[in-house]
């Protein structure tokens, strides 16, 4: 990895539950001012708070460039609805949508639906992979130029460019095509936390952005190399995978930390990486890891979004920009453009082209 590869930065804007949209709009605009690639908003059926995808849809018209990546779970939801909602977020944000894929592992979540018992993570992630696969096919089920509005023949669409996906998995089937035409980005950006085993398998196969947790650059670099190797084994271009270090940050009241680095605070969760210190030292850490080629960027989860995101943007990011290590504006309009990822070709159009 060359040291001049662009740095990617993202931030989580969830935290203690808030029910007023202005709170989320303010945070997304703050991240947008910092030219971050995207914001995420975590969600689960257990966590007090609003539906994350709807919140980011509410945020979309109030922002212009920032990518919007809600968590949408795959265990108790309908794959057809999930793919439609994510595609619609891409439409209402004009190409800025992502989808943070997650599963529901607990019995408490299962009891909210009463349809199936809780299942092991392996099984749930296998299903999540199927949902990602079926969704991508649904996003392709309309070719980009399927709508023809041909008044001469009276045809609104060219039905040869609409496709049944006929998806038959181990967990569900979907006939297709989608109701939502192909979204502006072709495929909204798929984000997976690929630290755990079964999630890493789904990430290597389906994700555009993979979050990893590591406490040393060597470990992160090894995780990235392994993800790329597996992506290539699935026939993917390993360079089309962005691996971001997931880092929980507490910028507290400390302006400079005596011992900057990941070891300066207790880990928040098993395997989680945690930074406690000042915004300047965080910039140093990001520079060091990125220059060392360990990761493509960072996904920062502020302990206290309102306070820490402000310090990230006005402190850490400003410094990185000043040093020419991070862009000062969004040169493109879509999240894929921010990430340097190409718009995916439509598989059905390709098949038709070959036929």
């Amino acid at each position: 990895m060359s040291a001049t590869a662009p740095l990617h930065l993202a931030a989580e804007i969830g935290g203690p539950p808030r029910y007023d949209p202005a709170h989320y709009i303010d945070l997304a605009r703050l991240a947008e001012r910092g030219a971050l690639d995207f914001v995420t908003l975590g969600d689960s059926f257990l966590r007090p708070g609003l539906d994350a995808l709807a919140v980011l849809a509410r945020v979309a018209p109030a922002t212009h460039r920032i990518g919007l990546v809600p968590t949408v779970t795959t265990t108790h939801t309908e794959p057809f609805h999930v793919s439609s909602a994510v595609a619609t977020l891409d439409w209402v944000s004009r190409g800025r949508a992502g989808w943070y894929v997650d599963v529901s592992t607990t019995g408490a979540e299962a009891r909210l639906f009463g349809r199936r018992p809780a299942a092991p993570a392996d099984e749930l992630w296998q299903e999540a992979g199927e949902v990602a696969d079926a969704s991508a096919r649904l996003w392709d089920s309309w070719e980009d130029d399927a709508e023809i509005r041909d008044a001469a023949t009276g045809r609104f669409v060219d039905r040869d460019k609409l496709h049944h996906i006929d998806f038959e998995g181990a967990f569900f089937s979907v006939r297709g095509p989608a109701i939502v035409p192909r979204p502006p980005q072709g495929h909204p950006v798929v984000v997976v936390d690929g630290t755990g085993g079964p999630a890493a398998r789904v990430a290597a196969r389906h994700a555009d952005v993979v979050l990893v947790r590591a406490t040393a650059p060597e470990r992160a670099a090894a995780l990235r190399a392994e993800l790329r190797r597996r992506a290539a084994a699935h026939g993917r271009d390993p360079r089309a995978l962005r691996v971001l270090l997931a880092l929980t940050v507490d910028l507290g009241d400390i302006e400079t930390a005596p011992e900057p680095g990941l070891e300066s605070g207790p880990p928040l969760s098993a395997g989680g990486s945690y930074y406690r210190g000042g915004p300047v030292d965080l910039a140093e850490l990001i520079t060091r890891w990125h220059r060392g080629g360990a990761v493509d960027g960072f996904h920062l989860t502020p302990i206290t979004p309102g306070r820490d995101l402000e310090r990230i943007v006005n402190g850490t990011v400003a410094l990185l920009q000043h040093r020419g290590l991070f862009r000062t504006f969004h040169p493109g309009g879509t999240l894929r453009e921010h990430l340097g990822l190409a718009r995916p070709a439509n598989r059905y159009a390709q098949e038709r082209g070959r036929a």
């Binding site: 539950p17 029910y19 007023d20 949209p21 059926f45 257990l46 007090p48 708070g49 609003l50 539906d51 995808l53 709807a54 919140v55 849809a57 509410r58 945020v59 979309a60 018209p61 109030a62 108790h76 309908e78 794959p79 057809f80 609805h81 439609s84 909602a85 595609a87 619609t88 977020l89 439409w91 209402v92 944000s93 004009r94 408490a108 979540e109 009891r111 909210l112 639906f113 009463g114 349809r115 309309w142 399927a146 709508e147 509005r149 008044a151 023949t153 009276g154 045809r155 609104f156 669409v157 060219d158 039905r159 609409l162 979907v174 006939r175 297709g176 095509p177 109701i179 939502v180 035409p181």
Partner: protein, 433 residues
């Protein structure tokens, strides 16, 4: 002109996917781009409408086993569009059609409560059922419910959603819930506090006896097809009479037919425009399609400018999937033949006349007067207007008809409150924690 002391309610339907949207018109725009939704919703809000209404599609229609290609098709998912519209509107209600067959109460109640929070109390849910296994092929559940169970599930679904919306106390304390009924056995904690309206407004669409009963027992608004004064009055009397047995007052349910309109500078201009619109809606290909839907046969070789087919419909065949069929095909064919013979109409002309649903045609003054009369005659509490054009089809109505309604005291001149319930004159539900 008639005056009334009972103000009417107005809503706007986004004319996206259907065979009445005139997509060939020069002013027709995108039915997908967010700017189209924004334009129509803001126009409706400028007109002080009660709510903006989106339908739902879960499977593309097919005809003779192939995807139907003549009508506007393709739309974004409603609740997500409405959450985005909450950002660019301030007062207008935001109503989504979401079916109860292929969703689960916990998830949908959460999404609806979220929209109510995000919009400051402007959310509405048109609870519908999905018709068949054809739609079910896109879902985990498949097409497992017969007609009767679809409605018992729908009723239990709405009741369960209301239980969930009541789990937080009005002072903001979450409490556990448990619902164990025929269709759902669920328990836990709901993640969203009581929303600004208490409960999002519940709309019911449908005309069957089960649908009317469901509406009388559970809905705040009923969206009907009864767009003529005669059928409107009968429907209105029937549904309002059903309320008492559920302990509800007549004013606790708003009846709003979906209606179309065509305006012109004069009544004659409007009639001329209406005829042009019908010709655009019923192209020669669409006339054949309408024929095949009734006849159940392949009539692709039939001349749309010739007479109706000599053969009778095949009542057992169904050429089109994904669309609700209305009426007995043999009866429909007999009616169409009588109409065609009486007026000497070609196939296409017959379809144009037999399937026309242009409810209000005339000058702005004429249309305003008819709307007022309709409400004064207890044929409706208001209307869901379905324009022919996306996204500018409501502009003329708001600019030219709404002021006339306001002059006559038949429609509001400003929003009275912030929530959809306040526009509709509906009380916030009593908390039943």
């Amino acid at each position: 002109m008639t005056t009334t002391t009972r103000p009417m309610h107005l809503a706007a339907h986004f004319p996206g996917v259907n065979n009445t949207t005139v997509w060939t018109a020069p002013r027709a725009g995108s039915q997908i781009d967010f700017s189209s939704f924004e334009h129509l919703a803001r126009t409706a809000e400028r007109g002080l409408f009660d709510f903006f209404f989106l339908a739902e599609g879960l499977r593309l229609r097919e005809h003779h086993g192939r995807i139907h290609d003549l009508d506007v098709v393709g739309r974004p998912e409603s609740l997500t569009v409405l959450a985005a519209l909450a950002s660019v509107t301030h007062r207008i209600g935001l109503a989504a059609t979401v079916n109860t067959t292929f969703n689960e109460p916990y998830e949908l109640a959460r999404r609806l409560a979220t929209l109510d929070h995000l919009s400051g109390g402007r959310a509405a849910w048109n609870a519908v059922t999905s018709p068949d296994a054809f739609t079910g092929e896109n879902f985990r559940r498949g097409g497992y419910l017969d007609r009767a169970h679809r409605y018992t599930r729908a009723a239990e679904f709405v009741a369960t959603a209301r239980e969930l919306w009541d789990t937080w106390t009005p002072d903001g304390t979450p409490r556990p819930f448990a619902h164990h009924g025929r269709h759902f056995g669920i328990e836990g904690e709901f993640t969203v506090p009581r929303s600004p309206q208490g409960h999002p407004v519940v709309i019911q669409a449908g005309d069957s006896a089960e649908g009317r009963e469901f509406a009388a027992s559970a809905a705040d608004v009923i969206f009907t097809r009864h767009g003529t004064p005669e059928s409107g009055r009968a429907f209105y009397a029937d549904v309002k009479a059903r309320l008492a047995k559920y302990g509800r007052e007549r004013d606790e349910l708003r009846i709003m037919p979906g209606v179309t309109f065509v305006l012109g500078d004069t009544d004659a201009d409007a009639q001329e425009r209406a005829a042009e619109i019908r010709l655009q809606q019923v192209s020669p290909q669409n006339a054949i399609l309408a024929l095949e839907q009734v006849w159940g046969r392949d009539l692709s070789g039939h001349d749309p400018d010739g007479p109706l087919p000599a053969v009778d419909p095949d009542p057992t065949a169904s050429a089109t999937r994904g669309r609700v069929a209305h009426g007995d095909p043999l009866e429909t064919a007999a009616r169409w033949r009588a109409l065609s013979e009486r007026k000497g109409l070609s196939t296409r002309q017959t379809v144009i006349e037999a399937t026309g649903r242009q409810s209000f045609v005339g000058s702005p003054r004429t249309v305003a007067e008819r709307l007022v009369e309709f409400v004064a005659a207890d044929a409706a509490d208001g209307f869901v207007l379905v324009p022919h054009l996306t996204p500018g089809g409501l502009d003329e109505f708001v600019d030219r008809v709404v002021p006339l309604l306001q002059e006559r005291g038949a429609f509001r001149s400003e929003y009275g409150g912030p929530t959809l319930r306040s526009h509709l004159g509906l009380a916030e539900p009593v908390w039943k924690g």
